[in-house]
Amino acid sequence: MTPAPTLYRGHEGMWMWLVHRATGVAIFFFLLIHVTDTALVRVSPEAYNEVIDSYKTPIYGLIEAGLVAAIILHAFNGLRIIAVDNSTWALRHQRKLAWAVWVIFVVLMAGFLPRHLMHVFGGA
């Protein structure tokens, strides 16, 4: 049985809540890995370079693109949350602001993705 719709359920706010949690968890676990791989600079230049070289492979290049996407969504949805917490104007327009997050996301990814993919797959 589908739960009855409410003001919140199934709308922009709920989906952004889910996006915020999912991207937050993904970024957190990447951060644990990222600090650990950077720590290899204290082992030797070779050890660090070897591990970082794997970040330059196509598969990791795509994962990095996903990570940047997650960071952009989390960052600008975070700004939306701050705005909604602090201003009644933002509270009234929180749905429009949710769409604004996606517009900013598309614009920034359009700037980042071609350049990053050229770095990863060659041609730049």
Binding site: L31, L32, A39, R42, I52, Y55, R115, H119, A124
Partner: protein, 153 residues
């Protein structure tokens, strides 16, 4: 249409029981660190992935070049500490939301706390003790060090 009936809500996790204002500080910290992290991380991503050869340029010499400047050391340290506490606090909220069995929750919170402390300590030690020109046993520069090491010696 009748309003959906609410089932009995679960008891709230009283994570603020030790200090009365703990959750208020948590809320405030997430907002301020979040705004600051936006600037810190977007700059980090731009410099490392957009300028020069992007991800291809990143190697030991690149890191050594950046950390030759105190600005980037402070930048990375601030990013490390703020991001780990911000992320750790976010994970704490998720554990409180989804781990209902008290023993599991306690275990996960301890695991999280240890992970956050270990990563902050490890990362800080790396930044503070970083040697851009490490030598091998016979006193020669290791391969992969930045070019400026030859001038320094």
């Amino acid at each position: 249409m009748t309003a959906p009936e609410l089932s009995t809500p679960r008891e709230r996790i009283r994570s603020g029981r030790m200090r009365r204002n703990a959750e208020r500080w948590s809320w405030l910290f997430m907002r301020f660190s979040g705004a600051l992290l936006l600037v810190l991380i977007f700059t980090h991503l731009f410099v490392n992935l957009m300028t020069g050869d992007g991800v291809q340029q990143i190697d030991f010499a690149f890191v050594a070049g950046k950390w030759a400047s105190p600005l980037w050391k402070v930048w990375d340290l601030l990013m490390l500490v703020l991001a780990m506490i911000h992320g750790g606090n976010g994970m704490r909220l998720l554990i409180n939301d989804y781990a209902h069995r008290p023993r599991v929750r306690t275990f996960l919170l301890w695991l999280l706390g240890i992970a956050v402390v270990v990563v902050i300590v490890l990362g800080s030690l790396v930044i503070f003790t970083f040697d851009p020109c490490p030598l091998d046993a016979s006193g020669d520069l290791l391969s992969g060090v930045p070019d400026f090491c030859k001038d320094v010696r």
